[in-house]
């Protein structure tokens, strides 16, 4: 085989050749440092604030974003069951804001689009937000996707969907809403 790598194309050799020509600009240009800064991942978001303050901030952010939530039970103040009307802009709200949802569900303007099979597209995303204590004065706010519902109360039926089909789930609406919530928390705090 006569396949090879062109020596003059190797960055170090190219740079040496360019500098040898003594061109003024050449000495000013440094190579791109492709720092492989490994992204450090965390579960949810961390907080060192007082737990009740954290919960308060989350409720304020949820309210600002037009979400609704189930009244927390006495024995579990640290879990919030959220429901968000996720209108993709093509339906009726162009600024991407969450549409305010009144508590009784029949006031919700059901702007569902109908799929070809005529069952409504679920437009209420459910999410569970839970506060965990990692260690003293170190808390973690965890976000979990909790399925979809129809704002017109129709139960989402996963009709004759094969096991394989069952796992075609789009994470983007969930990721999008969590970015909105995290931004709201970041801006408020």
């Amino acid at each position: 085989s006569t396949i090879s790598i062109l020596p003059t194309s190797l960055p170090q050799i190219h740079r040496a050749n360019m500098l040898a020509q003594g061109l003024p600009a050449a000495s000013k240009i440094s190579p791109l440092v492709n720092k492989k800064s490994k992204t450090k991942w965390h579960f949810g978001i961390r907080s060192r604030s007082y737990p009740l303050d954290v919960m308060g901030e989350i409720y304020i952010a949820l309210k600002n974003l037009g979400a609704e939530w189930a009244r927390p039970s006495e024995e579990d103040l640290w879990t919030i069951r959220v429901r968000w009307k996720y209108d993709n802009g093509s339906i009726n709200n162009n600024n991407g804001n969450m549409t305010m949802i009144s508590n009784n569900s029949n006031n919700i303007n059901s702007t569902n689009t109908m799929t070809s099979s005529n069952d409504a597209i679920p437009d209420l995303m459910k999410m569970v937000i839970q506060l965990f204590q990692i260690e003293t004065n170190n808390y973690l706010v965890d976000f979990k996707f909790d399925g979809w519902e129809n704002s017109n109360g129709q139960v989402v039926t996963n009709s004759n969907i094969s096991e394989d089909e069952m796992s075609t789930f789009s994470a983007y609406p969930f990721l999008h809403l969590t970015t909105r919530l995290i931004m709201e928390l970041a801006v408020n705090s």
Binding site: S4, L6, P11, I29, K36, T39, N95, H176
Partner: protein
């Protein structure tokens, strides 16, 4: 007889590889576990550049959270368009600096280039079909799109590239070893009106050549036609990152000094090399094209992954 054998083996091997591509789906090419980086269209273009470089990728799917839909692919062509727009409108630095990803369409219109057609395909379709669709698109890559079974919303499952597919073939098709005819006999080398430049050509001229010729690399030759280096479309990302795109009097030789040290170098071959060896190199290295030179090293042509894929899919 030996020649006849080589011809017959090559034809049977190509047919066998096509059968393989028809028997597999794009889903089969996906690793068991992988990352997919997606950019929200409201992100600034310059921030998206940081994300690509930080993750060592040159392209990413876009997600329009307003419509909850896939909004095409961000590729090096978009950054080339931004540089060309800035070059024609040097007073618009402010606009370029604040440009969001959903503004790239306006830049395309402003400089009069056709939008990159982002054909897409369902992951369960035959791989052969994805290859054919990908060849029709200029980006050399094809997004795999499925639908969320509950909300019918689009899912960007992954983006297949010519490189990934050829690597998948090289890794899984033992028949590639029988592709023993010299590439010079297959009529797949691009050697007609080949565009090239030399080390002192202004980098903006090379960038315009990339767009006007619709190619993703421009070979750099010396005064005697010997191949010295290559400027690739992805090099534009480093140019913008360094903010030196406003000094467009820069020569292409100076611009290449931006290349990071982990660049593997330009692969060359001759017309006598066989496709079996070419595929072996694709299996082992991250190579995106082969520049064909003569025994002395003079530039003769280029063999791109698109040329190889086209031969495997449709070649006689």
């Amino acid at each position: 007889d030996a020649g006849e054998n080589v011809l017959l083996e090559q034809r049977l091997a190509v047919e066998s590889i096509r059968t393989f591509l028809n028997s597999k789906t794009s889903y089969d090419v996906l690793p068991v576990s992988y990352r997919l980086i997606v950019l929200d269209t409201s992100l600034l273009v310059k921030k998206s550049l940081n994300v690509l470089l930080q993750n060592n990728i040159v392209s990413a799917p876009l997600w329009d959270s307003q419509t909850s839909r896939f909004a095409g692919l961000l590729t090096s062509s978009d950054f080339i368009n931004v540089i060309q727009y800035y070059f024609s409108n040097p007073d618009k630095f402010e606009l370029v600096d604040k440009l969001q990803l959903d503004g790239l369409k306006d830049i395309e219109r402003a400089i009069g280039v056709d939008p990159l057609d982002t054909a897409s395909i369902h992951p369960s379709r035959p791989l052969y079909e994805a290859c054919i669709k990908m060849m029709e698109s200029r980006s050399g890559r094809i997004p795999l799109i499925d639908k969320d079974e509950e909300t019918r919303r689009e899912i960007v499952v992954s983006v297949l590239t010519q490189y990934r597919i050829l690597k998948f073939v090289a890794l899984n098709c033992r028949e590639t070893r029988f592709l023993k005819r010299p590439i010079g006999d297959l009529n797949i080398i691009s050697d007609q009106n080949l565009k090239s430049c030399n080390m002192t050509t202004p980098v903006i001229d090379v960038i315009q050549l990339l767009t006007h010729a619709g190619v993703s690399s421009v070979p750099i030759v010396d005064e005697n036609g010997f191949l010295v280096n290559v400027y690739e479309a992805v090099d534009v990302l480093g140019l913008i990152k360094g903010g030196i795109y406003n000094d467009l009097s820069l020569t292409v030789g100076e611009a290449l000094m931006r290349r990071s040290d982990d660049f593997e170098g330009v692969y060359t071959c001759t017309r006598n090399d066989k496709l079996s060896t070419i595929m072996d190199n694709i299996r082992k290295s991250r190579v995106h094209r082969f520049f064909v030179v003569d025994e002395a090293g003079r530039l003769m042509g280029v063999l791109t992954l698109s040329d190889i894929l086209k031969y495997i899919l449709l070649g006689t």
